[in-house]
Amino acid sequence: MKHLMRLYGIWMGCIILLLSCNSGAGPANQAITAPQKDTIIIKMMAFQPADITVNAGDTIVWINEDIVAHDVSHWPDKSWHSDTLQPHDSFVKIIEDSSTYFCSIHPTMKAQFSVKE
């Protein structure tokens, strides 16, 4: 009987210890997501994917794998933009806000990225 009581005590101790580790709003319980890197390929006169959702602080890399030069520019006012990207060039941007963008060289090429709320 004493043996059983001792086992019970050990089990209860373990349960209390686990509960205490998982309770409260301490850092161990928060979902911390490291910044991610997403890639958008420019190919066949399109941004692929044309619509992407990221977290604020993530990085997007655009790689020009097309046969002609392109750029990546905020639509419609080019408030931010890349240099002209020759084939195989890339452009990196840290994302803070949602945006629609286009290729100002070929204006019907349009796409967007959204930041999660």
């Binding site: 066949m44 006169m45 399109a46 097309d66 046969i67 002609v68 030069a69 084939p87 060289i105 070929h106 204006p107 019907t108 090429m109």
Partner: protein, 178 residues
């Protein structure tokens, strides 16, 4: 009533369609070889580069100049890649009836474009670009790609189609402004 201006504008479009039509005529006749297709591809691109250079020289309109710069850069890029592929494949582009018709048409259209100035030139250039790209897109899709034997050359032509479609839309949008 047709004014000289309207007639002139229609003429440029007509010329563009005329000099592109041999592509379609040959379609029903001779089948092109890969060296001949390489020649047609390079020539068709070079002609649009040449039209672009005329526009840069003659036009002061910002939209026309920007479009022309894009045509020059894009088509020169394609020529470079076609030339590099021909070298890699040890293929020498071979002149043929389609190439000759394209070049004959270029001479005629260039004369018409050079005879115009100001807004009349801008409209003629934009109309010609729309008609030219429409004909070239059709020829690439229905003749050049189906008749190409080499897989890499076929792949290059297929990769050019979205660009040509885009140029066609850009040219139509541009023409609608005049």
């Amino acid at each position: 009533m047709l004014t000289n201006k309207h007639l002139g504008n229609r003429l440029v479009v007509a010329v563009a369609l005329i000099f592109c039509s041999p592509i379609m005529e040959v379609q029903a006749q001779d089948k092109l070889t890969d060296p001949e297709i390489a020649s047609v591809a390079v020539t068709a691109n070079q002609i649009d580069v040449n039209y672009g250079k005329i526009a840069i020289k003659k036009s002061k309109n910002a939209d026309i100049r920007k479009f022309a710069e894009t045509m020059i850069n894009d088509h020169e890029s394609i020529i470079k890649q076609a030339a590099a592929l021909a070298t890699k494949l040890n293929v020498t582009p071979q002149s043929n009836a389609v190439t000759k018709s394209l070049l004959d048409g270029e001479v005629t259209a260039t004369k018409i474009l050079n005879a115009k100035k100001g807004k009349a030139f801008d409209k003629a250039y934009a109309d010609n670009e729309a008609a030219y790209h429409e004909a070239v897109v059709g020829a690439v899709k229905t003749k050049l790609i189906p008749e190409t034997q080499n897989a890499e050359l076929k792949s290059l032509l297929e990769s050019v189609v979205p660009l040509l479609d885009h140029h066609l839309q850009m040219a139509k949008d541009l023409a609608a402004k005049f």
